[in-house]
Symmetry: C2
Subunit: 129 residues, 2 copies
Amino acid sequence: MPASTLRYYEEKELIASNGRRGLRRTFDPGVFERLGLIALGRAAGFTLDEIGAMMSASGPQIDRKRLSEKARELNEKIRQLTVMRDGLRHAAACRAPSHMECPSFRRILRAATTGRIAAPPSAAPGRPG
Amino acid sequence: MPASTLRYYEEKELIASNGRRGLRRTFDPGVFERLGLIALGRAAGFTLDEIGAMMSASGPQIDRKRLSEKARELNEKIRQLTVMRDGLRHAAACRAPSHMECPSFRRILRAATTGRIAAPPSAAPGRPG
DNA sequence: CTGCCACTTCAAGCCGACTTGAGGTCAAGC
DNA sequence: GCTTGACCTCAAGTCGGCTTGAAGTGGCAG
C-alpha cells in the first residue's frame, strides 16, 4: 500500500496519524484494523465517504441497518450480473447464424435496452495505467 | 436518451449518422439495434472501446471468445459479491457485542484485507448530481 | 413569417479513488 | 559523515462516460 493512499485516507479523515518522526507520519497499530474495515467496505461497494460516516458514527458498532441495506443492494446486483452472465454464455454457445436471430439473445438485449439491467460504472476506473 | 450521448457515441465511432437535416444529425433505424447492443455491452461490463472493437471487428458476428471471456469475468465477480453479501448479512444479524468478536466477520475482513475480494470501481461515477 | 427551443460546436467540468510530478526533507544504512 | 531514496507538500492529472456552459443555428408549430 503506497504512502499516497494513506495520505489520501488521512485527508478524508478515515484514519489518523498519531504524530511524526521527523517529516514522516507514524500510525498506531489500530490503524491496521481501520484499513481492513476500509478495504472491506470498498469491497462491499461503499464509497469512502459512506465508510467514513459509518466508522465515525459507530455508536456501539457498525450500523447494522446499513449493512443489510447494502446486502440487499449487492443481492440485486448479483441478480443482474447473473442474468448477464447467463446471457453471455448462451450467446457464446448459440449456433444461430446471427445473434439477432437468437430469441435468447434478443430477450437479454431487450432487458438491457429497457434498463432492467443497469450498466456498471465502467471497467476499472481509478486505476490508471 | 439525450442528444449529447448520441454525439458522444458518434465521436467514439460506435454509431454513425446518415446525414443532416439542416444542422441536426439524422440516423437510420439500424442505429437502434446498435444502441441496444451498446447498452447490453455496457451492462455486461464492457467499456465503450471494447464494444466498439467488437462491433467493428465483427466478422460474421460478435466475437464469441470475448463473450465467454466476459462471462467468466462476470462469474468471478458474482462469486466475490456473493461472499460479500453473505458476510454483510451475517454481520447485520450477528449478535456478537462487537463485530470484531465475530469469527465470521473477521474471516471476511481478512478476505478483503488480503485482496481476495477486490473493490469495485466505486458507487456510480459518471453520473453527476 | 416569426419565434421558440431543441439542436449544433467546442471546450471544460464532474464523479471517485487515487496517482503523479516538481521540488524539498531527513532517518537510516554503510 | 555522507549518501540514498522513501517520505513530505501541494497541485494537477488519470480513467470512463457522459454532462454542461457559452454562443450560435435553423426546423417546425402557430
